[in-house]
Amino acid sequence: MNWALLLPGYLVTGLAFGAFTLDLIVPRLSRTVLVYGGAAVMAAIAVFIILSSDGESSRFAGGILIFDTYSVFFFAVFVILAAVTILGSSQFVSAIDSPGEFVALLMMSAVGAMGMAAAGELITAYISLELLSFSLYILASYTWKERRTNEAGMKYILLGAIASAFLLLGITYIYGLTGDTRYDQVASGLSALSPSPGLIIALAMLTAGLGFKVAAVPFHMWTPDVYEGAPIPITAYLAAASKAAGFALLIRLVAVALEPVALFWDWVFILLAVLSMMLGNLVAILQSNLKRLMAYSSIGQVGYLLLGIAALGADDPTKPIAGMLLHSVSYAASTMVAFMVLLAVWQQTGKEGVRDMAGLARRNPFLALALTGALFSLAGFPFFVGFVSKFYLFTVVATAGARFLVPVGIAIFASLISLYYYLNIVRQMYIEQPEDGAEAIRVSRTMWLLILGLLLAIVAGGLYVRPLAEAAESAAASILAGA
């Protein structure tokens, strides 16, 4: 066994335990050290992960974890997203009792997400998923003195546990049918089977369990409540990282293990995709709370990504995988910007409604500009990375087969609907007058730099996407080469 492969995971885990221990030993730990130090080390780990990638595909312990370009791509994404969230919570952690624990749990959740991307075997995939979920259950109810927050945590863990039970039942039946839990063995077992009630139960349970984790309609009920109740940095992390992690697991599972049944099952993913994008975007119009609105908008984005999952049964699944990787990164970056702006406004005013954004352009032009950029990117406007990634994803799905033309048409229609409520927020910020007595919003220098950096990233990605697209394509190719 080549233990050196586990180094990225060990580094992040070690950092998390370091933060836990520091929190115990030094009760009045300097938050500056914790937040800036933690984020800096995480960023350094991300750089290390990218630089030490040799483009080869290595299997750990007979393939329970697979370290290929795909894993490296997601490792870097998760570590960076955790670092961004830690940095964004710099002000938030001064209000909570044990900041070390908060930061450590974020790091542990990143380890879980990394495991989900690298898992090449069902037990490992499940344990990693639960490591991520359990950290998030605690984080989502972190400011538990607030009644909305502990209610969000309760709903999250109850529904999450039920979804896990369904997922486990699915995994168990897959194991029972194929006699193995490693993805490649599962695939060879499945290709020898003809569709049977047992197989349909297994696939339905797997889809329900994982559909919950990525918040696809009709398994999305928890999303708006948890997004609204959780502290804003955690809502941002849920929307960006936890969703990407769900897809990291789903893509490898469907592309490798379930490859023999992909064509048999793709209509289910098409159905979920269409339901998610229509319901998410339509219900988002009705929302007056921005966190709830972003929750429904994220459900809509999941719909676009699920189209890529449905297209995995096509002759060449490389392009749909690359499209999903690109879009999940572009979505994560754009949604991070939006939530960081919300966080900055909320920290000063304690308000998070759509109407509370009224006149933001006058109260802080920079924040208004950043939020506009993020929303345009989410809606898929040109010159933002959201346009390029959505265009790429829709094009590759549409060319995957004639049966995808109608769903892609619906996706484009759903994007138009989403413009309505995104532009409504922009209208509030630029055209509506600020409320009487509304003061200017001050932004700390850390937040300012963080938002500016992310904003530049989504603009740069929109103007010159080639490096990112090439990384996504080589990551996509590496999954299939290893299978």
Partner: protein, 103 residues
Amino acid sequence: MDALALQHYLLLSAGLFAVGLVGVLAKRNVVVILMSIELMLNGVNVALVAFSRYSPVDELAGHIFAIFIITVAAAEVAIGLAILLTIFARRNTVDAAEINLLK
């Protein structure tokens, strides 16, 4: 051994899972809901061990998975009860129908 086949264990597993699911859907006390989720997971465990025992080759993954699930379920209940305690401290109720600020 001959009297009991794989199907019997799968039936038991499906029964446990179904009883748990009914408990989750029908009960309003959050502690009982957490117990029902445990029951669902135990149903899964029975199926896993049975699949493992009856597999043609000497296959251990199912046994190991069952041990993992027991451990993970314990952690899950610990977190669930901790969150429930914070709710009970604020609202003095464990009734799921009364935990309804968010909608």
